[in-house]
Symmetry: D2
Subunit: 425 residues, 4 copies
């Protein structure tokens, strides 16, 4: 039947492989454990708590793996267990840390592929030594293979939870699989660590989602690879605090044909992410990701009277007092009937990792579903979770949260369990 | 064909009859004039500036009357021209007042049906003398007849732009047309002036929308009357400042399964509306209207973990320094993954009449379309414009702005010009 | 020498007697313990951390008792230890509670004098039974005598940390000592529990400060009693969150001759204090206290162009989600050169008990110093700590925080240790 | 008698010479005219509206020149009249512009000394041509001489109202009068236009105040020159929006020994000042000025527990939609008793020129008083008006607004009219 995607049952154990096991990854693991043990509901996770317009839970609409099926692993530049990493991240309070200790203390990251040209302001000892990036990819492929075997997992999914790499322009090396693999062998400086992970994961048949704004999966070579290897990819940059609010508020203003003269956004954050973004190279990557959303929602060309002169500025400042508890302040200059001006200020006191963690879970489960339904290449229906939704060549990204919600549910309704699909034929 | 509403062409002159010709009504008229003359685009009006998801203007999707076809009239307790009323309202700056003077100075309100039991804190001399409310309705029917004739209008539409009446519970007198008309003759104290207007307008075949939170059209007797007389009605309470923002932001939080522990809203405004709301009776009417929106969007029953304990408070304070430039401040207490708390503060420096005026235009044009398409009774597809959308018996109101947008466009797509409708058969 | 107050040394143990041992009192005790043990500095206490304009610590300017000399006691309607009360108050985190457990668990409140006509919305079992209010005072006097003996204290001080009683107008019974004591014997309904405490404490020679806005000490009879018994009193209403900010910001605007058209203040809080203030009687007491500050700082009579039309509104709303973490939002409408308007918004996310606790310490130590210097009656130099500074008959209260600071330091410099005073003669 | 400054009567006409006749200068002139004509009080001017702690107006405490005695002139890179400049600045509304037109249209700026190495992002045609900076100073001296003669003024005062020049480090050329004058002749690149104005004005016996953060008067050579020529100087950088609020709020927090973990400040403004500050060189000058205030008020050395780890960040962003209506947002991270954290957010919607204009008036009148009292060199008692108060060598600047207020009144009380001074001897 048209539009349907037959999907295999959600049985078996699934390796959740996380490049970057810092604040986000450890908070994600601790919260899954809390939900398994029943001492905290998985708030903020739409796969666990969400329902469609008729109130039917997503879990009843499609076959999703359960939390007990997940096995956690990953790579990090620090060799500590995820318990120590969580403690250092200072996201969880002492009581929650203690309750999660057993699981967190049992997980130790594998050594990471790291390149200080791509991430400044942090460094760590738990890194791989290699001569070529190709070799690095092979090492990662071996890691994956070992992990799946050691943990008795049928299959894996991966979500990039590492820091933001510096801004990279697409160049020759990113255009074809051949050029890319040649570049791996030649140590082409245009190939970032996140791309090496992508290469290794896709070659291992593991779907990958990218929670950071760096390219990683967003270049023709990787998209081609995903399609050739028949693996799903999705990205990029978790839509969490300020940008989440933007893609909620902007569609509302546009729906009402209210004019926007300017939108000024500033962010303060004091965690490792903030320290990394204090480097101009990484900031540019992030800024590009954050700036794109408004242009897509407020269409200047079609609505020059409303948005033609809109001035959009985005600032991020590293401000250590706040730690992981980032904060956004937005000033929106509006104009209405006869041009009279109005203003909206939005102050969002949020928590970086608390907002991101449930997205890791949702992406892991949905990517696993894509895998079971044999979907490959860019999964645009997951745009709902990203600041800068990655698309297949030629498509425009959708930024309006409510259109994204629609896209997600359209796909959810498309999944048809294999048996019933067979029966329907 | 199923779901289609054949609609007559939008030709001819249309009387726009406004009970209450104060700040909102005069700003509406001045802005229509500005758009006609071309010195200001009709910002905030979706009929004039809006388009569907594919970018097709609403004006190309259905036959709508043009601004030049509108003729303005109405009733008010002050006898001044709309120019003097606009000056007193102090919404428009001197330059805009001057530019609109010719039209505004030419419009004088008819004498109003007024009852100080229903609106405290204001009073005026331009009121009708009558023995029974039935007589008052007859006087209004005569006004309407005269206005249509004098202005050479084919047909009319009406939008209530008056103040908020005190809170009224539905009682016997509101349940049937018979009881209601009996009540008119007996001067039943449960019949508010807005209901007398409704009676007169519907008996005259004029569709009516209600921009205030008082019942007016929202009782069984009036709904039955609208259906019997084959006239459209819609209400209630223009969705403008704080509540507009609520129905934008709340659906976004719900879409992401983010928990809400509390939502505190306070409003300051200093215009006549603020003075009227300083009366506890009128405030209660408004409060009921403003409180309902969150319960509908955050479904406590289905999502007890997320919204079960939500505390929702709404305050309105009369604060004269600000005049028509009302301001809302919202504090939203959220919780996310593992229960960690976060906060959003929204400060909306808005303008009451500037936000309401384009809704008057949109409602006038859409109600006229309903009239030409022979739609009668409650027009739920106009919920997009209202804080407390009126529904037919047994239906639940939709508050999510984005679902409302969908409902509106679904109906817009249903309108089929009479000729093409005929051709399609 | 003129203006000097010879003061006895600060030796010996001091009973700190607290009517009301809830959130504020228990946080105060825990923090003193933390400072004694050295695991937290006494932040927010000017006796411990403050210094004069030349940087000389207050502790070097006058003889003050040390933290180790304080012994804590008090009365409460709940019989639990202060550890249980602190736990219920949920101000301190589990780690801090645990660290303070030994001391807090050792303190049990004496049974309270309580009258539900004066405080609504809360009730408790640990109350005294008596026939007349006179008898109640005698019981309290016995409590005090016992406590001093049992704890080996030379002397005592008292700080009211109880809830806000309902608003009371000054009447005959409050005008003289005689009428007041007659009223105690007659159970005059105009005598609030806080006044019975005041009577008992003053009769016992214990100075008393009042942290709540109810009259308590602020009536002629009690002032006369304080003078006759040669005991110091001070009040009223701890200046903590929003009002503290007001008395900081308003003097700055006044210093610059900036006009103020309006000042709108709203507060949300969810602790017991908030529940009590949800009763209109108690709210009125608080509102009177909070409203007075601006009129004193912005002098309408002398500056009609700047403050003649100022509109000042204060709201307090009980909002449970926030617990003890109250929040204020202020909107200030300014106007400057040629009348152009400007706005300041202040959003203070504060903590009720955290701000009040150090004031309890400062008042206890300063009142003990007043005692040792033989100062009696109203201590205006402590206005710095109060929302509604109590004054002797005929004096106007000073609200400007910076003038209050000056008054405080003037008195601090007046204290001369007895020996050196003798030597100087 | 000790501490008194005999002062000559305030008779005669005074030339007010303004380098930079843009938004601030034109708003200042229009407002003085409004006050003269009586259609707007001089709000925000302490010389006109302020009084001491006893309510005695400053004008009764010392002899000050009246508004009618002032004659306005100055220099600008644009040749338009001040009416055209005011129109372009878009600070005043059309009605106010019209009312001030007669005076504003009669004032044309003299050609300016301009150097695009010092101010980027703006340029204009009305500039002097010269070979050496010495020659430029001579031209300015001739301008001053002519202006005084043509306008029949006895004496002059000057207030720099120009843009912020780029950051300059003090070097050899700024250390002595000789080196400086040698530098003028050699076109030393370290000599900014504002210094050339300072040289010309001081050589002409005209006191000068500096409303911008550039050095101008703040170098040893100019201070020596002021002392040698017996002329008063004062600076620097008008204390207007965000920094004014800082020096109000910070002293209040310090008075209460409340800890400060961080203070984050961001500013958006869209006028010429904003455009100039978009240049990193000018921004650095401004940033240095804005950053200094907190360190002085929160003394880290004496109070390491309270302010030892304070993180202070200041941002300024050019944001055109807002024009002259700049806006500041501050987030202050506090901690109190036992280290519990709290937050204050301050959002100041202000107007750059409206806040600065009355300071121009106050500085002009006070500098004229200093002139008549024969005060020379740096006038620290005017610190009240400046973000970065200039001091004589070896003194620390005072930033606390309330200490500054005290310093100002101390000096005001020192002025003794010449006759009475004689009589008192």
């Amino acid at each position: 039947m048209f539009g349907e995607n037959p999907i295999n049952p959600a049985d078996g154990k699934i390796a959740v492989l996380l490049p970057g096991m810092g604040a986000v990854a450890t908070t994600f693991i601790a919260g899954v454990e809390a939900a398994r043990k029943g001492w905290s509901a998985p708030i903020g996770s739409v796969t666990q708590m969400g329902s469609d317009a008729n109130g039917v839970p997503i879990q009843d609409l499609m076959p999703l793996a359960g939390l007990d099926q997940l096995v956690f692993g990953g790579w990090d530049i620090y060799p500590d267990t995820t318990f120590d990493a969580a403690k250092r991240a200072a996201v969880l309070n002492p009581e929650h840390l203690e309750k999660s200790k057993e699981l967190l203390a049992s997980i130790t990251p594998m050594s990471a592929v790291f390149d200080s040209n791509y991430i400044k302001n942090i460094d760590g000892p738990n890194t791989k030594k290699y001569d070529t990036k190709w070799e690095a990819s092979l090492m990662l492929q071996q890691d994956i293979k070992n992990f799946l075997k050691d943990s008795n997992c049928d299959r894996g999914v991966s979500v990039w939870c590492g820091s933001t790499e510096r801004y990279v322009e697409i160049s020759e090396v990113h255009l074809t699989i051949e050029a890319f693999e040649e570049g791996l062998k030649n140590n082409d400086p245009g190939i970032a660590p996140s791309m090496i992970y992508a290469h290794a994961l896709l070659k291992s048949g593991v779907p990958m989602a990218n929670g950071a704004p760096n390219l990683a999966l967003d270049c023709p070579a990787i998209i081609q690879l995903a399609e050739r290897e028949n693996v799903a990819i999705a990205g990029k940059d978790f839509k969490t605090g300020q940008t989440l609010m933007k893609t909620i508020v902007a569609p509302g203003l546009a729906a009402r044909s209210i004019g926007v003269a300017g939108w000024y956004s500033t962010n303060i954050l004091g965690n490792t992410d903030g320290a990394v973004l204090d480097d101009p190279g990484s900031f540019k990557t992030k800024e590009m990701s954050k700036l794109s959303v408004l242009d897509a929602i407020f269409d200047k060309e079609s609505n020059p009277d409303l948005y033609g002169d809109m001035c959009h500025k985005v600032r991020i400042d590293y401000y250590p007092p706040r730690g992981d508890n980032k904060e956004g302040w937005d000033n929106i200059d509006l104009f209405g009937w006869m041009g009279y001006d109005m203003q909206i200020k939005i102050n969002f006191l949020c928590r970086d990792s608390i907002l991101a963690a449930p997205l890791v879970l949702d992406l892991a489960l949905f990517m696993d579903a894509a895998n079971r339904a044999n979907l490959s290449g860019v999964q645009e229906w997951l745009s709902f979770f990203f600041k800068a939704p990655q698309t297949s060549a030629g498509k425009f990204p959708e930024h309006d949260l409510f259109h994204q919600r629609q896209m997600m549910f359209d796909q959810i309704h498309n999944f048809v369990p294999k048996d019933s699909a067979a029966a329907a034929e």
